[in-house]
């Protein structure tokens, strides 16, 4: 039997070591390629679209290295794809970060700054009065409410904790595609699902047991649900 091929899309932004290392840990018999090569990505059985850092630089590299085309090809192919953190944000219409950046338009909705949201500010001020402050970035372990029954939630408790680190959050317009929600001063989108694509704001590769379970579910997923 051929070994399962997993491509982690590398467009020069941030550290993909953690993702590759977690995949190798849970699937010692898989091949993990950290790559920007469209052919390698097209030939993989599973694709991961990560992202770290500022959105302007990410989008510039995504366009320059034609990662946008690779992502569109993977989506059309029906093979399972998992987007992580800025990978999710890049799939939206637009991000407020870096004075506004157009993104990939796969999902409808915007990426917004926590501290720019009046309801977040109100929650922040209310917390400050009682000695508790809402810090930005939203950093640490928060609970994820599962909104859709999806194979990637298999064996993960509803309300289980995952590791987040981000200052901007996704506000999805397509509520029916929200697979997971999180609350930090305000409700925001923690996971989205459509066809063969699953996208998360948190870092499964850093989320201990729950994260490794989600990555295992992803490797076992055929892209349908």
């Amino acid at each position: 039997m051929n070994r399962k091929q997993v491509a982690v899309i590398d467009y020069g932004m941030g550290n993909l070591h953690s993702v590759a290392s977690a995949l190798k840990h849970i699937g010692p018999d898989i091949d993990v390629a950290v790559t920007s090569d469209r052919e390698t990505i097209a030939n993989a059985d599973h694709v991961i679209f990560p992202g770290v850092g500022a959105i302007r630089d990410c989008m510039a590299e995504i366009r320059k290295q034609q990662v946008d085309k690779a992502v569109a090809e993977v989506m059309a192919s029906g093979k399972p794809m998992l987007a992580i953190c800025v990978g999710l944000q890049a799939l939206m219409n637009f991000s407020e970060e870096n004075n506004g950046v157009d993104c990939l338009n796969v999902f409808s909705g915007k990426v917004k700054f926590f501290a720019g949201n009046p309801r977040f500010k109100a929650a922040h001020d209310e917390g400050s009065a009682s000695g508790e402050r809402l810090k930005v970035p939203h950093m640490g372990w928060n609970t994820v409410e599962q909104r859709l029954p999806h194979p990637l939630w298999h064996n993960i408790e509803n309300g289980g904790r995952f590791y987040f680190v981000h200052s901007y959050y996704v506000e999805a317009e397509q509520k029916e595609l929200i697979a997971g929600a999180c609350h930090y001063g305000i409700d925001f989108t923690a996971a989205m699902a459509e066809k063969n694509l699953f996208a998360v704001q948190f870092h499964p590769e850093k989320s201990h047991t729950n994260g490794l379970q989600l990555l295992t579910n992803f490797l076992n997923w055929d892209g349908k649900w």
């Binding site: 770290v52 810090k135 930005v136 970035p137 950093m139 372990w141 904790r161 981000h166 850093k206």
Partner: protein
């Protein structure tokens, strides 16, 4: 349910061994860093911090190798600090598997280093470590200054103003150690923790002085810390991470169990 307060065991590493000293002297051996890291991962630690306390040029290769070994087996965030002076140092640590780096003396020497680091790698992976010492006399308004070189070198810089400046420069988190309390087991310096936590928009990790579980609770509730860091209470088996979390939960602090 809300964001959990984090418990972060700290590995002070000298020449490839976890050590723990009292106010940076009287060093005790606490084991192999990879084994220690695995133990805390299994216990449910929320993150790990690895501080290379020798940080000499020769030790650097050993540190990178150890970080690689830890990162291959531990799937929670890992911060590495000690002797981070250049963008190249940061890149090497991130490539070795660190998720964040902690910058201390290099930021004092060149505050713009933090700005360049945050622009290049993102604020999410830039932790600025502050070693603060009380400099106000009894009865005066409390004031703290920052010290570098393992607490030996005074700088004359106000700790609260410095923390605010580092956040303006792009620090994503502050690791605050009280030099007065470190190693004493008397509890955190709650005054400086509260002053800095109230002054900055980013999360603050309290460090230095933990001797029992009530100290962790005090750091969060009275100090306003978002995370609490401790070393010796965990290394020498006085308390386990699950015991610490259960105690915090019983004191109405949200934790990841």
């Amino acid at each position: 349910m809300a964001l959990a307060k984090r418990i972060i065991p700290c590995l002070d590493v000298d020449k490839g061994r976890v050590v723990k000293g009292v106010q940076f002297v009287d060093i005790r051996d606490a084991g192999d860093p990879v084994e220690v890291a695995k133990k805390y991962n299994q216990q449910g630690a929320d993150e790990l911090t690895f501080l290379d306390i020798t940080a000499s040029h020769e030790a650097r290769e050993t540190t990178i190798h150890t970080v690689e070994q830890i990162a291959a087996e531990v799937f929670i965030p890992l911060t590495v600090g000690g002797g981070i002076r250049t963008l190249e140092d940061i890149r090497n640590m991130l490539n070795a598997g660190a998720d964040k780096v902690s910058i201390n003396s290099a930021a004092v020497k060149d505050p713009d280093f933090v700005k360049r680091a945050a622009e290049r790698f993102g604020s999410q992976c830039i932790v600025v470590a502050i070693d603060a010492k009380s400099v106000s006399a009894e009865g005066e308004t409390p004031r703290w200054e920052i010290f570098t070189h393992g607490g030996r070198k005074p700088t004359g810089i106000d700790a609260v103003a410095w923390a605010v400046k580092m956040c303006d420069n792009g620090a994503g988190e502050i690791l605050l150690t009280s030099m007065d309390k470190d190693g004493t087991k008397d509890g955190f310096d709650l005054g400086v923790t509260r002053a800095i936590s109230d002054a900055v928009p980013v999360p603050v990790i309290a460090s230095g002085g933990v001797g029992n579980l009530q100290h962790l609770v005090d750091g969060v509730i009275n100090g306003g810390a978002d995370a609490v860091l401790a070393a010796s209470i965990f290394h020498f088996g006085e308390y386990s991470v699950p015991e610490a979390k259960a105690f915090m939960r019983d004191n109405n602090i949200e934790v990841r169990l």
